[in-house]
Structures are given as C-alpha cells and as structure tokens.
C-alpha cells in the first residue's frame, strides 16, 4: 500500500510530508547524516522524520528537476515507486515499495485534490501552507496505514472542521461514526429544506478528429449528468433518459412516451459509470438508475456515445504553400443545428509554423488575431446561429530556414458552447420519493439544462 505522501511546490520544496510506512526511504544511513552535517541547513536533520527525506530528495532530483519532459507518471527510483500528479504548479506524490494497486493510487491522489479543493479552494502553495494542520488531519483520516478510507467530503465535513467540534452529544457522535462507516456514507440524516428543489445539468463535451477531406476519423461525446439537490430527508430518486435499451424494452410494453420516441429519438449509450450512490446491481439487471442522492452538488453519472452524434460545427481547411516563404490559409466554418439556437464562445485556432514572420488576416465575422507567442491565429466569434457559415483567410509570411525538419502541421482546433446535447440525450424524468416526510414528487421543483461544449474538436489540415 501507499508508504508515504508528499506535496511539493514547483521548486521541489516539501510542503507536506506524511510517512505511513518505514520501508520507504529507509536507506538513510548514518553516513548520510554525517556528511550532510557540513551544510548548516541540514544540521537539524538528525532525526527520523527528516531521514525519510532521502525518498523525498530522490523524487525531486529525478522528476521535478529533471530536464526532460516527464516520460511516465510512475517512476521507479532505487526500487521505490513514485506516483505523481500535478495541479497548477503543485506536485502530489505517493510513494511505495510494494506492488500496490496503481489505479487506486491515482484515484486517491485525484480524490485528495478534490477534498482539499472542497475545504480550502484552489490548490496553491499559499493555501497549502495556510492549511497544513488541516491537511495532516485529513490525511490521517482518509489514508490509514496507506489504505484509503472514506473520503466523501460530505461525511468528512461533519467531523473534520477548522473550527473544532464543540460539545457533541452522544447521539451526534454515533451519528457521525455511523455515517462515515455506513452504507449511505455520502448523506447525513435529518436534512431539512423549506423548498424542495433540484437542478439537473446535462454537460456534454463533443470530440472530433476529422481528416482534411472532411472524413470523420473519430467522434465521440463524453457526457456528465451533474445534479444539485436540495431535498429533505432521505429521498429515494429514480432517473430516466432516452436510453435506447430502455425505450425499446418499454416501447414493447406499451409505454406511450417510449412508444413515441422509439426509433430515432432514443440514443445508444456505449458505456456509463455512476456515482457510488447509484445501485449498480439494479442498473445491471433492470437498467434503472435509482439512488439516494448526496446533499448539494455532485456528479450522478458519466456516459459516452459514438453513434449518431450531432456535430455542431464543420471546419473546412485549405492550406497552400506558395513557394518556400509563404502560406495561404483559408478556413470555412459551418454551423449545423436548428437556426433558432445560438452557439456561443466560438474560437477557432489555426496553427502557424515556427518561422512565421508576419500574418495578414481577413475575416467576415468576429475578430481574428495572430498570436506569435502561441504560434497560432486565433479567431473569435461571440455568437452564431444554426445553419450559417463564415470564413477566414490569411496569408502567412515565412522566414527562410534551412531546417530540414518539416513543419508538423498541427490540426486546427475549435472551441464552442451550444445549448443542446450533441449526443441527443434527453432527460425523461427524475422522480423523488420520500415516504417519511410529507412531500411528494409533485412538490419538488425541478430544473433541467443542456450544455454542449467542444472537447478536443480538431480538423487536420
């Protein structure tokens, strides 16, 4: 299991160091300490706590200060394995000498980041230094002897606070422990709202790789259903969408809605994963999504589709090399959705060669600028309705070089936001049942919103 966890700043200085097992970095020998006494700064290192710095140092030297780009997120130095993730300029590293579950270690590191963000916001050097006591307390709770324990912030916040817990009654204490270890570790009992309300966001990112000739090389939508719930008690929820498998089954069973939208109105979901509140065995057997939701905001499900995707934009590139010192680029974008809808925050990024000396741009709509530092022409359009098209043309002057290496021609990428789900997913219902309290499904106010964003949306040129 995880032997130790370290947090470094961008210089490689240790901000947090929590060692769970002796085996890591235990190679620190007396000789090391003796030699290190020459430097006054390390003079005080003559104790075990600092001895572990050997492992710490190894990571700094080999990864953070390495000249090369990181070639692997897992590094083995002197039979010790280091897992690292980076958040802005902070490095989190988990260290072990055993054959641990690698996927679990990374999942834990991400979770650790989530928990820290939930407690004190952005993960930055300053925030970490200001909250180090809290971080140690959290690490003590969520990682025991290197084994991850309950790390749901909802539960953690009931007993790890910066204010200190005051005068708990016996009932409160046992409520905390039963929640942390219980089957519904993500929700506490006794939540009350005057107005029972819930918000559903269907957030999709549409990914595309298209050949210069307009052939779709790969396209997929990865979507998330994010739910904000403000519901009293322990409500039992059931979520339904136009999943092809369900619709086909129900269509035969006489469900009117299902009957109407069977066929092209339903979508084929390649795969989906759920928040731990969803009963997976029930989904597996009946394909129904039922759960008791956490309080507040959380991600209910993720899904992926590849069939019948609505590609909101099409990019048509034309690049012509005129002699050795000039390039002519023409790019047309076409919007492909209902004319009544508006796309927003449209940005087209056209890469330019490294030896570009000057660029002239003409565009019909929006603003375009050559950004030398990014080696790209960035074309921005605020809004664009469906079934429209727009065009940009540019002349790129090149400095003559004798560099043999060809320009790699990175693909043209696009960013945008559209008010529909490119996968075609529709929420059919979200039913709420709370038998103990006196509110029914009809009393709950429900909001649904669809947002489609560009993921990696690229056209080769």
């Amino acid at each position: 299991m995880i032997g130790g966890l370290f947090i470094y700043n961008h210089k490689g200085e240790v901000l947090i160091s929590r060692v769970y097992r002796d085996d890591i970095g235990y190679v620190a020998q007396r000789s090391f300490m003796v030699t290190s006494c020459i430097k006054p700064a390390t003079l005080f290192n003559v104790n075990l706590f600092v001895c572990r710095r050997n492992a710490v140092d190894a990571f700094r030297v080999n990864v953070i200060h390495a000249r090369q780009q990181v070639r692997s997120p897992v590094t083995n130095i002197a039979r010790t394995s280091f897992f690292h993730v980076k958040r802005s300029n902070i490095w989190l590293a988990a260290v072990t000498k055993q054959n641990v579950n690698a996927a679990m270690v990374f999942e834990f590191l991400y979770k650790m980041c989530d928990v820290m963000t939930a407690y004190f916001g952005k993960i930055s050097e300053e925030n970490i230094k200001n909250n180090f006591v809290l971080i140690y307390e959290l690490l003590d709770e969520i990682l025991d002897f290197g084994y991850p324990q309950n790390s749901e912030t909802g539960a953690l916040k009931t007993f790890i606070t910066q204010q200190g817990i005051k005068g708990q009654t016996k009932e409160e204490q046992s409520q905390i422990t039963s929640q942390v270890t219980g089957q519904i570790g993500w929700r506490r009992e006794g939540i009350k709202y005057r107005r029972n309300e819930l918000f559903l966001d269907v957030l999709e990112s549409v990914n595309l790789l298209m050949s210069p000739q307009g052939q779709v090389l790969s396209a997929h939508v990865s979507g998330r259903v994010v739910m904000k719930s403000y519901l009293s008690g322990m409500p039992e929820c059931k979520f339904g969408m136009n999943d092809k498998i369900v619709i086909d089954k129900q269509g035969k069973g006489g469900d009117l809605y299902a009957f109407c939208c069977s066929g092209k109105q339903s979508i084929a979901i390649d795969d989906c994963t759920f928040h731990q509140c969803v009963r997976l065995s029930k989904f597996d057997s009946e394909r129904s999504i039922s759960f008791i939701p956490p309080d507040g905001e959380y991600e209910l499900m993720r899904y992926r589709t590849t069939k019948d995707i609505i590609l909101p934009f099409r990019v048509i590139p034309l690049v012509r090399e005129v002699g050795r010192t000039k390039l002519e680029v023409k790019v047309v974008i076409k919007s492909n959705f209902k004319p009544s809808l508006l796309a927003q925050k449209i940005e087209v990024r056209i890469p330019t060669p490294l030896n570009t000396s000057g660029v002239q741009v003409i565009c019909m709509k929006g603003k375009a600028k050559y950004k030398a530092s990014e080696n790209a022409i960035v074309w921005k359009i605020k809004r664009m309705a469906g079934m429209k098209e727009s065009q940009i043309s540019a002349e790129i002057e090149l400095l003559p070089t004798n560099d043999k290496k060809k320009w790699a021609r990175p693909p043209i990428s696009m960013n945008f936001e559209v008010p529909f789900a490119p996968s075609g997913l529709k929420v059919r219902y979200l039913k709420v049942f709370e038998s103990k309290l006196n509110y029914s499904d009809h009393d709950v106010i429900k909001w649904v919103r669809y947002i489609g964003r560009s993921g990696i949306y690229e056209t080769r040129c």
Binding site: M1, F44, R53, A78, Q149, Q173, S174, C272
Partner: protein, 957 residues
Amino acid sequence: VLFVKFFTMNSIFIFELKAELNSDKKEKKKEAVKKVIASMTVGKDVSALFPDVVNCMQTDNLELKKLVYLYLMNYAKSQPDMAIMAVNTFVKDCEDPNPLIRALAVRTMGCIRVDKITEYLCEPLRKCLKDEDPYVRKTAAVCVAKLHDINAQLVEDQGFLDTLKDLISDSNPMVVANAVAALSEIAESHPNSNLLDLNPQTINKLLTALNECTEWGQIFILDCLANYTPRDDRESQSICERVTPRLSHANSAVVLSAVKVLMKFMEMLPKDLDYYGTLLKKLAPPLVTLLSAEPELQYVALRNINLIVQRRPEILKHEMKVFFVKYNDPIYVKLEKLDIMIRLASQANIAQVLAELKEYATEVDVDFVRKAVRAIGRCAIKVEQSAERCVSTLLDLIQTKVNYVVQEAIVVIKDIFRKYPNKYESVIATLCENLDSLDEPEARAAMIWIVGEYAERIDNADELLESFLEGFHDESTQVQLQLLTGIVKLFLKKPTETQELVQQVLSLATQDSDNPDLRDRGYIYWRLLSTDPVAAKEVVLAEKPLISEETDLIEPTLLEELICHIGTLASVYHKPPSAFVEGSRGVQHKRLPGSAGSGESVESPEPASAAVPEASPSIIPSQGDLLGDLLNLDLTPPTSTAAPPPTSGLQMGAMDLLGGGLDSLVRPSSHSCPGILHCFSPIPLSSYFLGGDLGGNPVSMGAGFGAPASAMPPSFSAPASGGLDDLFDLGGGVGMPTGAYTPPKTMWLPAMKGKGLEISGTFARRSGVIQMEMTLTNKAMSVMTDFAIQFNRNSFGLAPAGPLQVLTPLSPNQSIEVSLPLNTLGPIMKMDPLNNLQVAVKNNIDVFYFSCQYPMSVLFSEDGKMESKVFLVTWKDIPNDNETQCQIKDCHLNSDAASNKLQGSNVFTIAKRTVEGQDMLYQSLKLTNGIWVLAELKVQTGSPVFTVSISTKVPVS
C-alpha cells in the same frame, strides 16, 4: 559564525515554544503545537520539546489531541523511552466514551513503531476489535496489520489473526473491507499460510459487502477475490455475474480490479457457453471508458489493455479508433496507444491504421516518430495485404531525409525483406542512396545485411561493403558481425572479384579483434571456406526460416502472471512483483486457474538436482555427491533459473541431443556461444529451433544476425557443437578453456538483509586456485566503500588469500564483480553441513553475516592422479565398510566423455575396463587436506544410469 547564529536562533525559538506549550490557556497551547508541527514539516528538529508536547495530550479538545498525536508519530521512534510516557493516555483514550477518540487512539498507537509500546497496545486493541462502534472496529482492523508489521510473532501469539478473520463476517461493510485488506497484506508475507481461507461461504460474504462498501473497500474486496480459485465453472460464472455491475463504477480502480477478477475467472468458463460471449462483450465498453479518465489513469489503463489484448484479442478488436493518438495527449499516453494500435491491426482496419501512422511519423517527439515508423513495418509483417502499401509509405518517409526517420525505416524494411523474400527488392536502390546518412549501429547493420543478402543484384555491392570496412574497429559489435557475414555472403556469390575483401575482413576479425564472438565467427568462416566451399555455401546461404508476425509479445507464463496483477504496479511495469518488491512480499507467483490448454505450462521448473550435497558427519564426503554433483548438475540444462520449460516437441529433441553433447566445452565460455551458434544457424536442424522457439524479435532471427545472448536458451549450444568436434578443437586454442564445473551464482546476501548491499556468488577452481566469485550490488541510495571480508573457521580451513579488492566506491545501482582467491591454510572446525562457510562482509555501513556452501569439487587438487599400482593396492586395502554406493540417473554421456568431463574437475581416471558391455572407470581424487578418495564408475552402454562406488581409507561413519 553562521553555525552559532543558527543554534542560538533555534534555541530561542525552542525556549519560547516551551513556554507557550506550558501555558494555561487552551488556545495558546494549540497555537504552540501548531507551530511545532510547522517546524517539523520544514525539517527543523523540535524533538527537544517532547515532554512538553506530550503533556498537552491529556485534553478533551479533539483537534489539539490530533496535533499531539501527529507529533508523537514522527518523534516516538527517535525517543522510545519518552514515548512510554504517552502510553497511559493512549490506554485511557481507548476507553473514552467518544468513539472518534477511541478510534484515534488505536489508530495512532499502531503508528508508533516502538517495540516497548507494542506490548501495551495489545489489550486496548483487543477491546477495540470488539468495540460496539463500527468506526472503531474498522480502524482496529487496520491496526492489526500495523502491529503485524512491527512484530508478527506477537500478533500470532495474541490470536489477533483469528479475530481479524471473524471480522470478515461483520455486519458493517467497511469493517469487512478493512479486515480483508489487513488479512491480504498479512497473508502476502506468509506465502504458504492459509490465512485468507477463501471458501464459498466467505466469498459470498465478500460479494455481499461489495455492494455496500465505499469505493476503496470495493477495491480491497475485488483484489482479494482475484486470489480465489473457484471450484468449478458454475461457481466461476456466478461470481462473474455478481462482479460485472462494478464495471459501471465511476472509480477506475474499481473497474480495473473487476476486470482482473473477470479475466481470471473467465479462464474456467467453457468457451461455447453463451455467458462467455456475453462477458467478452461486456468487457469492452468499460475499458474504452477508462481512456476518457485523467492522463495518469489513462496510462495505467493502457498498460493493462496492452496485456488484455495479448491474452484476449477478441475483446477490443473492433475498438481500434479509440486508440488513435490525440495531438495533446501526453507523450507517455501516445507511446502506449501506438503499441496497442499495432496489436489490434488487422486486415479490416489496416487502411485507417496506416493513414494514422503516416500522420504520426511527421510529429515532433523523436521517440514517438521512431516508434510510428517501426509500427508501419510491423503492420507490413502482420497484415500481408498491406505490405505493399506499407513499403511505399516507408519509401515516402525515406524521401523526407529526416535522419532518424530514414534509419528507422531501413531497420524495418530489412524485416519486411525477411518476411517476404524476393518481393520488394526493387527498393534497394533507394535505400543505397541513404547509406551515408546512417550513423546508428542498428541501421548500419540492417543496411549491411541487405547488401550482403542481395549482393548478386547490387552491382557495386563490393564497393559498398568495402566502404564500411575502413573504420571496422570503430564500429559496434553488431555492425562488425554483420559486416563479416555480409562479406562472406558476397564472396560466396561473387568469388572472383572479392577474394581480397574477404581475406581482409577475416584477418580483421580474427587477428585484430579482441571480441571473442567476432573472432570465433571469423575462424569458423575461415575454416569453412578453406576446407569445403560447397558446404560453406550450404551453410551461409541456406534458406532462412520465416519470421513470426507478432513481435514484442510478452512471454506466456509472464503474461498469465501479469493478468493476475491487473491494475497493480506489476501490470504497469510489465514485470512480476518479485522484480521490484523486496523481501518476501510478492515472491508468490500468481497464476491463472487451469483450463484446457493452459495452466500446465505455468508449473515452475524443478530445480536441476539437489544443488547442495547432503550433510555428512565426517570430514570425508560420502555418497555419490562428489561425482553426482559434477555429472548431474552440469548436464541438466540449467532450468533452475527462469528458463521456460519445454513447450514444443522440437525443443524436447534439442534436449535429448544435448545429453550427448559436449556442452561442458561450450558452457564455460558462455558469452562466446552465441557467436558460434549464429554462424551455424542456417544448418537446417538449428534453424528449426530458431523458427520453433524464438517467438520474439524478428531482428534477432536472421541467420547470423546478432541475437541477444539472453534470448537464447542454453540448449542451443548442443546441436551446433554436436557434429563439429574438430572445429572446436581449433576454436579451443582461441578462447575456450575446458574448465572445471562451476555452479551458477546464487544469492547469498539479499539487499534487505544487507542494508542495500546485495551479494551473490559462487566458487570455482581456476588453475589450481580456489576462487570465490561474487557480484556485489548496491541497491541503497548512498555510496558504499571500505569493503572487507572474513571467514569463520570451517571444515577445510578455507581462508581469503588476500584482502577483498573493491577499489572504487560502489555507487547506487551499480554492481561489481569481485574474485577473491582463497587458500586452505585457515583454522579448521567441522561444520554442518560439511561444506558450510560462514562469511562476514564489512563496509562503511555495517557488518553483514551470511553463510554459503561451496561445491566439494573446488577442493579437488590437481595432483589427484594416483599411480595405478598404488591405486590397486589402496583399493584392496580399504575395508568394505568404508565403501558407499549410489546411482546417478539421466546422465547421457558415454564413459569417455564422462571421464573427460570429470578430469576437468580434477577427478582422474586411472584405468578403464570393459566387462560385458559395462565400462568400469577407476578414478581417484585428492582433497586439499591430503585425503585420497577412490571411486569406481560403472557405465552401462546406452543406459543413462551410472553406478558409483566411493571409498577412502578413513572410515565412513
């Protein structure tokens, strides 16, 4: 000055803190402890405050308590005596009415790794394991694992393991999960214990808990389930059915662990079962979904998918597109995706794959581009229909003139020529144009191979090869060998014009080179050419076996083991855990459950024979050990290492041949073998082995193409040497001493025990001197110096003849070979076993002790040939009681060969007699302490059983 300043500043700081810690105000106290922890984090020594901090422990403020505990965990080990002060508070806290405090106390106590404290921990722990609150129980479960890590015996004696087993039936799923995790860890360090007694009842409990516990708990349970072997396919199916819902979990580690369980249990399902097909279909989508996770997880997933695709290609065969590289992928993701693309390439998708690969070959990252170019070649070899398109793509890439692209392309084109002979030779002209730009050995060697192979079609082949010859000595071995073979091929094809050239290269290789491989190959060619050019032609220009289409496949046994480790580091490194985990953990080799056709091959090879002679109560070695050791051990192929057991009939044949072979001649100079072998690989017989056995790298399969020595099973040497005795006579003068038997090196001091110093070694007798040959490896992170060695008194008075010569400091990860000459003048004490030797090695870090056993044969002196008359008298003189008899089985030598072989180890044949088809060899040997040993060896012609009678004057008791 600076020192003083630092000290004073620090002591003032400490002084102030001391005052604050002893303050009456709670808030002030807390702030002071916070400051202490802050100093600790940045590496300041605040251990002087130990008593003051511990005084703050008795508080009802949970936050302050936690801070004090954090301090204790860090400093207790350096101040064990003071840590005892904290014990009372811990014991008290374990009785606190607040379950959070009880759990905190038991959790922290386990982290204080001081032996004295562990005794006090037992009672509170026992109570906490039975606590009414699940939060305390789940913490106590992990604490058992902590305690076991400090003092395993204590945990067993106190019966904690049974309590832990009981917790598997706990009503709370999280307690179950932690108990499973703790038990799994403890079981790992007791490989043979039946600690995790998995049976259908416990499995059922685990599966129930699986539905209810946290994501992490699900991982512990799934990883544990993967160690279970179901009784039959029905049980296997029902477990699979209950595990499949986990594939929809948001946590990738849960998904991968579920995949591991399914991949393993699937082995037991009959393939015609409907459910088997359903399961295969269910596995693909979650694997693809893993690729939309964060890049680090993608990397872990891709490394695992690489294994899964090798084991069950059908799962992902339709999912090629998701492995297409994205421009912004981190490089580690790109390289892994490329690997999987090639594995999935098939006739159905090859067009798309090729278009992608061509795109990648124009990217920036050099490693990635090289791999992409190589991938194009691999596609050509894998999918025949695409070969032509691949070749033309490669030619396009060569036209870019980007140096590393060209070189990589030439290397793969050579493989394409091997796979499709006489098909694409028209491109040779284009290749030759780029001759000058090649600066990497692999590319140069490939080009030379092409020129030599197609010499008859290249008009100026002689000029081309001659141009390489100028800098012959600066070339790498790979290129030199290739050049030698290439020119010999050229000579055989165009003898008239190239005589001078071949003379030149042969003399360069044999006279001016000190590389034994090169020299040996040179001599063999020379001899071949001068005795029988027709035979030479048959040998050198023989038809080559086809190369296999799949490359870089992981060896099946290893693959099976890695499948059992899906999701873990082993699957990321593609190495068994024993390769990177120290100590007893991970030594257990996991294997897939048996089903038809698989499984048997997993059996680990039996050790070759009892490597260590039996202990004997007298100074005189009794039984047949002396000879048995020599004959037996030396003959059996060295399966004791990781050599895969024979899998094909072909190889079995090889082994039989080996029995009669002269491997003793070949083995001592193992590094020179591949060279010799290689020259003869075109002989049909051995090329058979090439085709049948080496599934690996097509590059290494070519006739005379430098294969790595490690890839070569040792049995290879036999067929080559079998019919070529005279050649070896010739070669014998060059670099092949007929040496005494030397056992392979064994591990004497593992790095765990040597604080990072690892020692493996063996004993040998070389020109009358006993040598202790050791490999010292530094696995620690600091430099090692000042090595010295000493022996304890031993049976034959072995002692170092000089100091241990390790001249340079041994830096981390470095190893060094040391040979220590020994004499037999040391003090004598009878050891048990007789040949036991206790050694002490010292370095700047510590003194380490280990014991090892030397083979008796190093004690046989060179003057052990008894005069035949004396022999006769002595033989009769020795009472019958002093004689012992034994049999040596499976020894496929004839009496002469055996005699020769034994002579190499100073066991001399005095006389030979043949009676009724039985050869009787009479032999003598003399031990370093002057004791003579006489032996009679009966060899039944054609029977592999030898009978040995051994006697000496000194009574055998």
